[in-house]
Symmetry: C2
Subunit: 343 residues, 2 copies
């Protein structure tokens, strides 16, 4: 299996995040990708290649131009306003606020296009964000070239980013952009399986009204877990997309048997959908020692997740998402991939 | 003119706010009310009285039960979760998120019921919030008892708080609750004139569909100023409320002539509405040296604002809102009141 990786991810390094009332060091940090890369090499998973550079066009197929412009210009405008550090929103739209009118000020646009105050934009974030998309798109082209599977070692992650909003350490939705590219290049149906601990609210929102992408997510129950406001069982898609969104919200403390049962059901439903390609949003924050999560998976279970995905017998693109127990993130992510290879 | 004041406002003292990417000391602090009180006494404006204690019922006429419960329980739940400091939200609803379902977790409810991450809930905030409402309601009863005018020295302020969302240092909308009480007790029409530097987004949202409250606001243009997502000129009310919402968004650098022209127009429209009572959301952050604002009013202009409001010749309740140039806040707030008295 080829691994796509770019050191440009180092260009995004958030100084911190507001979490539970305190400004704390960011959990999403460059070491994450490096630990996964080191494990990839240690386990000799496959050749590590650099991404191709893509134009912005595949991104515009998924994201609003205003969001893309903001991600590129926010820090420059921030500095021009005499501010230091990274750019963060501090207010946001809620009921009764204007959603029909994009604000013109920087703070207004940060508010309009975001959904949390923990996702920092620095001077060089855009280069890393764009590079992360290129890593995902290059993985998609590997499948198009006949590879059975590929691993896009994306960072920053993407699954929380919606068509017109960023948050949850995510700016652009790498997995969604790759899925859309596969469709645009000829695939008829793509399934996205999101095994990150958190609900892939962005991916759900992007494809909620469509039947050419089947989105399946297993995640911490939004009654207990970020992003709190999406990811419930009754969200099944809308319009033409009805029936093509499947959420498995699982409660804190979920162990392998409960997780496996949900995953088995999700995989059964994906098989019935008969996708041309499977995109896996690969987060490993389901690990028992993850510092911000509450599932109880062990190293070996990640291997089994990989084997279960393999049973779908489809071209499969793995896209790196979350996972914050830094010491073990490499083991767990690569276990999924070796489980897939070896099954 | 009687002044209603309670020292319970000291029970709300935010440790800080997230503003422009930094956790900074809160601008909204107890000294504000004390400086206004000192100036009230220095100028011998009138008798300072304590508020009556009202039941929660007048609040429920304006605010969602879930918001009221959250404001009372949030800090206790916060501590039970093992957290320290004050309770803040860190994520929020945007497009694609659930608005139809109130989350059950604390962080979910904080997200659902708020619109910024700078408005802290401490262990004793609720007592101050409730007391601030009582201060406003007591002012309303003074008018009902025949007083020509009264000054409710509310703190925390209220005009950013909507029916089901808090933010902008505001938790419950003191002016809106007082206006509703006046209506419930027999007034047919109430005009709310909001001269705070910031748009009274909460007040607008609460009464947007109604014709028994005419809301007029002069404020920093949302293209430049918080709350960014409401307060535009084209927001004129909806349904039965169409024509009963009037915004004067004014640009940074506005000086007295521009301000006076807008105020004159707003007052003319209020006179045409022929309200039984006028409630003034009295913010003085329009002052030229206010640390977070960008208008250019001088001390004497506040006196003139008071005189212009007096010309309406209606029972008038002044409700304290913002104003952060602490040294001058007393002079400017009391200048409005002496301008009113003396005109
Ligand atoms: Zn995650
Ligand atoms: Zn203000």
């Amino acid at each position: 299996m080829k691994i796509v990786y770019s050191a440009d991810h180092f260009l995004h390094h958030a100084p911190g995040e507001l979490l539970f009332g305190e400004f704390v060091p960011a959990f999403e940090k460059p070491e994450r990708a490096e630990l996964v890369l080191a494990r990839v090499r240690e386990m000799e998973l496959g050749e590590v290649i650099a991404p191709q550079i893509f134009p912005l066009e595949p991104i515009t197929r998924v994201h609003a131009p205003g969001l893309m412009e903001l991600l590129q210009s926010a820090h420059k405008e921030w500095v021009e306003l005499g501010r230091s550090g990274a750019a963060y929103p501090y207010t946001w739209p809620t009921r009764g606020m204007r959603m029909d009118r994009v604000p013109t000020s920087l703070d207004g646009r940060l508010a309009f296009y975001s959904f949390d105050c923990g996702t920092a934009l620095t001077a060089t974030s855009w280069q890393a964000i764009k590079s992360s998309v290129d890593v995902a798109l290059t993985g998609a082209t590997l499948l198009q070239g006949g590879e059975r599977a590929a691993f896009s070692l994306c960072r920053p992650p993407g699954h929380h980013a919606g068509a017109d909003h960023y948050g949850g350490y995510c700016f652009l939705n790498n997995a969604a952009i790759a899925a859309q590219k596969l469709l645009d290049d000829g695939a008829k149906r793509v399934a996205i399986l999101d095994v990150d601990y958190h609900h892939g609210n962005g991916t759900q929102q992007i494809f909620y009204n469509r039947d050419d992408v089947f989105f399946v997510s297993l995640h911490g129950h939004p009654d207990q877990e970020y992003p709190y406001l999406l990811g419930f069982e009754d969200e099944k898609g809308a319009g033409k997309g009805e029936g093509y969104n499947l959420n498995f919200p699982l409660h804190w403390g979920t162990e392998w048997p409960g997780y496996e049962a949900a995953l088995q059901e999700g995989i059964k439903r994906i098989a019935a959908y008969a996708p041309d390609v499977v995109v896996v949003s690969l987060g490993v924050d389901t690990y028992k020692d993850d510092p911000i999560s509450h599932f109880k998976l062990e190293h070996e279970h990640f291997t089994r997740i990989g084997a279960m995905i393999k049973a779908l017998n489809k071209p499969t693109l793995f896209v790196m998402e979350g996972g914050y127990a830094v010491a073990e993130i490499g083991i767990n992510a690569v276990n999924v991939l070796t489980g897939f290879k070896g099954a």
